[in-house]
């Protein structure tokens, strides 16, 4: 027998449904886009306003759906931790470049961290691979393709290094 809608609404576990949380994020995104769009001039706001309403409505549907049809817990979201760690490594590298820590040093540490995250554990291999990748990329982008890296404290040794 099919459980009633009311019974399903009270069913536990909806918090573990990825789509429920996705719906919340999407609804907030739509709401934020709507509020921002109200500050635009009359002709520029029509399209973003329409889009933001549609996004918020889609978010609402995503929130309500697991409540009506029963939650579907997903283990996929566990991968988020690994992704966030890798994103943080790249983010720190970008900050190091901005602060003038230099390409060579920053990239070497970024490579070591990424390779370690990917599962390489032998330190000699880690450092050798990271050094090789860093030097080859420097040669390719800075020497061959003439890409100007941000100024760094080591620029007196090599440009952008």
């Amino acid at each position: 027998m099919q459980p009633s809608v009311k019974a399903k609404l009270t069913s536990a576990g909806v918090w573990r449904d990825g789509d429920f949380w996705l719906g919340c994020v999407v609804f907030i995104l739509g709401g934020w886009a709507f509020i921002e769009a109200t500050g635009f001039d009359a002709r520029s706001r029509v399209f973003p306003l329409t889009l933001s309403i549609l996004i918020a409505v889609t978010g609402l549907v995503l929130i309500v759906r697991p409540l009506l049809s029963g939650p579907k817990p997903s283990g996929q979201y566990r991968k988020l931790g690994t992704m966030l760690a890798a994103a943080m490594v790249i983010g720190l590298w970008a900050m190091a470049l901005k602060l003038g820590a230099g390409f060579m040093l920053g990239t070497l540490f970024m490579q070591i961290a990424l390779l370690w995250l990917a599962g390489l554990r032998r330190w000699s291999w880690l450092v050798a691979c990271a050094l090789l990748i860093t030097v080859l990329n420097y040669a390719l982008f800075v020497v061959a393709l003439d890409i100007r890296l941000p100024r760094s404290v080591f620029s007196f040794l090599l440009p952008g290094s």
């Binding site: 996929q76 992704m83 994103a87 470049l97 390489l120 990329n137 393709l145």
Partner: protein
């Protein structure tokens, strides 16, 4: 004909032809690396095109694009790991055939099928793109708006999974395209006062992030999962003879014909993607195999080394490559996600795909078209060289090292587009968003279409309404705008298809449950 000659005259200049050959070789090599998909291959090569003239850069990218799709079959057959998403199905029969000591034959079949599919699609590109572009030149604002609606609707109609998430993806893409100065009044929108965002989110770093960085995150997760499951790579099978008997070639002719047709048809539809073409052609080949060859003496089971199981998907995936450029080059609408990356490669050199490309840069437009044809011809012998010479070395590179290499190439590629650190943040943010979208099973294709079409859609809508003095019926008026009306009607039909399908499924379920409870009636 003169224009085709123009294309060949540009392409056959030694340095441009050399770039095409390098692109094909590099595409085959990168495509052969397990876990590196077509999009990463493309995203990695965008930075290399910075310092080149437009013609050389685009010849390189055409080579990479064509060859990466074909190269993915090599690890699929040898390692049972698809090099690219396009080789997902080839794994089944390809690896089974390799394990029967016929790896050479399987590889040869895959490459030959890819070349046949690729040549067929380059002929479609040659025939249709310029014709469609000349029609598109007569489009006014109403038609342009209807075209963008049709482009987005085609995605909805073709989504195989969750339609709501497909729509959400398109909406997010459209919203992101709103960032920057309004094309209607010049008002800055969603820029947070940041000067880097006034002209919109930089396209190249955005694409590098959506495809390259997100793929790195996926690759790290995959490696960690494999380590947890203690998966060990089995010993490589011997390649052996790569000759395909003439009788097998004759037998596969209908499969190649059907798969090429399916690949081309799907390819020209915006947003349809390669996978749909591969699955449809694989299904067709399976039906034919079961009807004609299953159970015969010496014939393998379907999925256990049937030659059709390699020929159909490989032919279809390369049939999509050039045909997906038809809507891109003629209308500015990408046929699939990888061809969307092509927009980024063109944008780096100040080129905008669309009908005007054939007028303002006819030499480049025709060079790209004929390059697809030549790339497939060059690919055939080069693929055999790659298989015989570098394949084993490629498989020896640890995946972990590839993570570091690809991450840095993508980041420096994003930075190199204007030497701006802000681009790295854009690429990183886009990578995180794309990864989360993938986790939440939100398809990326519609978002790319939304991104590409958003500004165009809004400007066309505003201008059409301004000219018609706010008359919304202008888009469906068959007397003044018949093309627009037809495109809107087609869009409505595409939106209705999933709804009709859903209603049919509900009716069928109801009928089944009624029959279960009333067996006597």
């Amino acid at each position: 004909m003169d224009l085709v000659t123009l294309g060949f005259s540009v392409l056959l200049q030694p340095h441009i032809l050399l770039m095409l050959v390098i692109g094909v070789f590099a595409g085959l090599v990168v495509g052969s690396i397990p876990g590196v998909n077509d999009n990463i291959a493309f995203a990695v090569f965008i930075p290399f095109s910075f310092a080149m003239p437009a013609d050389q850069a685009l010849a390189l990218m055409v080579g990479v694009y064509c060859a990466a799709a074909a190269g993915g079959a090599i690890p699929a057959i040898m390692l049972r790991v698809p090099g690219t998403a396009s080789a997902l199905i080839t794994v089944q029969d390809g690896n089974a055939m390799a394990r029967q000591n016929k790896a050479g034959k399987a590889l040869s079949l895959a490459i030959t099928s890819s070349v046949i599919g690729g040549i067929a699609s380059s002929v479609v590109l040659l025939a249709f793109a310029p014709a469609l572009a000349s029609v598109a030149l007569s489009f006014g604002y109403a038609e342009n708006f209807a075209l963008t609606v049709l482009g987005l609707s085609s995605v909805v109609g073709l989504l195989m999974g969750n339609i709501l998430k497909g729509i959400l993806s398109a909406l997010i893409g459209l919203l992101v395209s709103m960032v920057g100065f309004s094309q209607v009044t010049g008002f800055p929108r969603y820029t947070f006062g940041n000067v880097n965002l006034t002209e919109g989110i930089p396209f190249v770093p955005l694409l590098v992030g959506l495809f390259g960085i997100a793929a790195i995150f996926e690759l790290i997760c995959d490696i960690r999962r494999e380590r947890r499951e203690h998966g060990k790579v089995s010993k490589l099978p011997a390649i052996g003879s790569m000759r395909i008997p003439a009788s097998l070639m004759r037998r596969l002719l209908p499969v190649w014909g059907t798969s090429s047709a399916i690949g081309n048809l799907i390819g020209v539809l915006p947003g349809a993607g390669m996978l749909m073409a591969i699955y449809l052609s694989y299904d067709q080949a399976a039906r034919r195999f079961r009807r004609k060859f299953a159970g015969r003496k010496g014939e393998p089971e379907w999925g256990d080394g049937a030659p059709e199981g390699i020929a159909a998907p490989e032919c279809a995936n390369n049939a999509v490559t050039a045909s997906s450029m038809v809507p891109l080059l003629s209308l500015g609408i990408p046929g699939n996600s990888t061809s969307a990356l092509f927009i980024g490669a063109m944008a780096l050199h100040g080129l905008v795909p669309g009908p005007l490309l054939f007028i303002q840069h006819a030499d480049i437009a025709w060079m790209i078209i004929v390059a697809f044809f030549v790339a497939n011809l060059v690919m055939w012998p080069l693929a055999f060289v790659v298989i015989r010479s570098v394949t084993r070395s490629i498989f020896a590179i640890p995946k972990e090292v590839m993570v570091g290499v690809i991450a840095l190439l993508c980041m420096l590629g994003a930075y190199g587009d204007g030497n701006n650190l802000f681009n790295i943040w854009i690429a990183l943010g886009a990578g995180v968003v794309a990864f989360v979208m993938n986790l939440a099973k939100i398809p990326l294709g519609p978002a790319i279409l939304g991104l590409v079409l958003g500004g165009h859609m809004e400007a066309s809508l505003a201008n059409a309404l301004s000219i018609s003095q706010g008359n919304w019926l202008v888009f469906i008026d068959p007397s003044t705008h018949p093309i627009s009306a037809a495109m809107i009607a087609l869009s409505v039909l595409m939106w209705m298809l999933p709804v009709i399908k859903h209603i049919q499924t509900i009716k069928q379920r109801k009928r089944q449950s009624y029959d279960r409870f009333n067996p006597s009636t």
